[in-house]
Amino acid sequence: MKAVPLPTGAPVESTGRRQEHAFAWALVWVLGIGCAFIAPALLLFLLGKGASFLLADERATLTSLRWSPTEASYGLVPLVVGTLSVALGGLLLALPLGIGTAIALHFYLRGRLREWFEATLGVLGGIPSVVFGLFGTFWLVPRIGASLLSGVCVLAAMLIPTLALLALAAFRQLPTGLVADGLRLGLSREQVILRLVLRSARPALFGAAVLALSRGLGEALAVEMVCGNVPGLPTRLTAPIRTLTTTLVQEFEYAQPLHNRALHLVALAIVLLAALTSAAALRLRERKAA
């Protein structure tokens, strides 16, 4: 668009930078859309590769109970069961500890001390998962063996800080007068917490738990270091197991083409599980706000 000098006095020379800007904005468009399309593109890639497995005859084995690629059996069931057991187990172990810690911090501590502990919790939550795996390998496994139980313990340790922080956030969103009103009615502090607070915060806490679950479902390395490597259905807590994620880590490198495609389906399953649980968590947390 050419700038027309208005006939009122001499036109001030503008810097004429419109042309350069068109290129700059075009670049922003292209790169920006590229960035936005990363997620769908990756998903499509997984779908494509995974779907090509479905064209093979072996697809019938997907629902079987044996995952043994060398014998052309690609049963996902034991892997899914393994994933769910570790994640749920870790969550169940982490929940009381995490929420308990949050209660202790929010309702029984004040001021500087509370802030310091909260900050520490935040930092602990950011520790890389390998460190937990390390600890598990050299401290847990020699004592209780490479098993479901070890995986559960390691995962629980990882989830506790996240759960505690989310619970704290949930407590902070409670109406400020709640505790005071409860106490005024004659309830003891314990009763107020148990009956009023936990009840009111329940949707948010539930959402937090589900979010932690989705984290646990996607965790690969820490679990892989302590879980043992037997892709069978876990019969007891101390049995070694495999999860969807550990399978990927252990088999990706030397997989034959068909096996390779099956692994993409495994990855897809992980993504689906994690996505479903995160979406559920989001809905739960939004419901509390509504």
Binding site: M1, V4, V12, S14
Partner: protein
Amino acid sequence: MIHFKKLTVRGCGQMILRELELTLPDRGTAVLLGPSGCGKTTLLRSAIREDEDDPDLEVSGTIELNGVDLRAKFVSPLAVRQKIGLIPQRPVAFPGTTWDNVTFALKHTTRLSKQEIELRARAALEEVGLEEEVWKREADCLSGGQLKRVAIARAIALEPEVLLMDEPSNGLDPLAVVRLERLIVRLSEHRLVVLVTHDLHLTRRVANVVHFLWPFPDGCRVVESGAPEKILEVPARPETKLFVQAAWEGAAALYESDDELEDCEAEECMPRRMRLVHESNPRELLPEE
């Protein structure tokens, strides 16, 4: 001369301005007066084509500056903004010092040399009356009145022919208002200054011409124009009378009770726009939303 011809503005599904016709002179101060919601600010924004960035606003009509339609497609908004400066009601400080603020647009929109930029910035800052020691201060640390003046300085540094000011005296103490008045008078010697304001005192002291707008169901219109003495002291239209009396005399000037209002069907009984709730509590004068 600025001519607003058949300027129609729709916003958020409502008609704000309907076929407004207005002519403003080359020099001097013109004041646009009227209740809130009358599209006065929108009028100013359309003059610099700021409405084009707002998907909720639909503007049609022409705004001619010395014969050229500013809203024509082939006229670049950037060129328009070199000729017409808008000083917003709540100016935001750009990062940096006062000096940085004033030289900002000069640096980025013109090809002036460093010396010329410095000359213009100095002239602008001196015109608004900011002392040199303020020039080096961070703009975040300025008082409201000072920031207002910085906003004026950064606009006049571009030497526009028309200056639009949106409620300039809002939030200023009486001493600052007096300083502002003197500044407006100085500025209007060489250019057109258009003020949108509710401040009748300010209007009476600086205006050369006053245009009064009133909201009607089908949009706002200019209902009365003229010299400030006439409009503010002996308005002809009932709408103007109501507005002016409310400012000078408060609620006592208006109707005593709801009954009177209900019985009265004449055009003077204003509309649904104003309603006295309690005669005994004159502070509760509610404009109807």
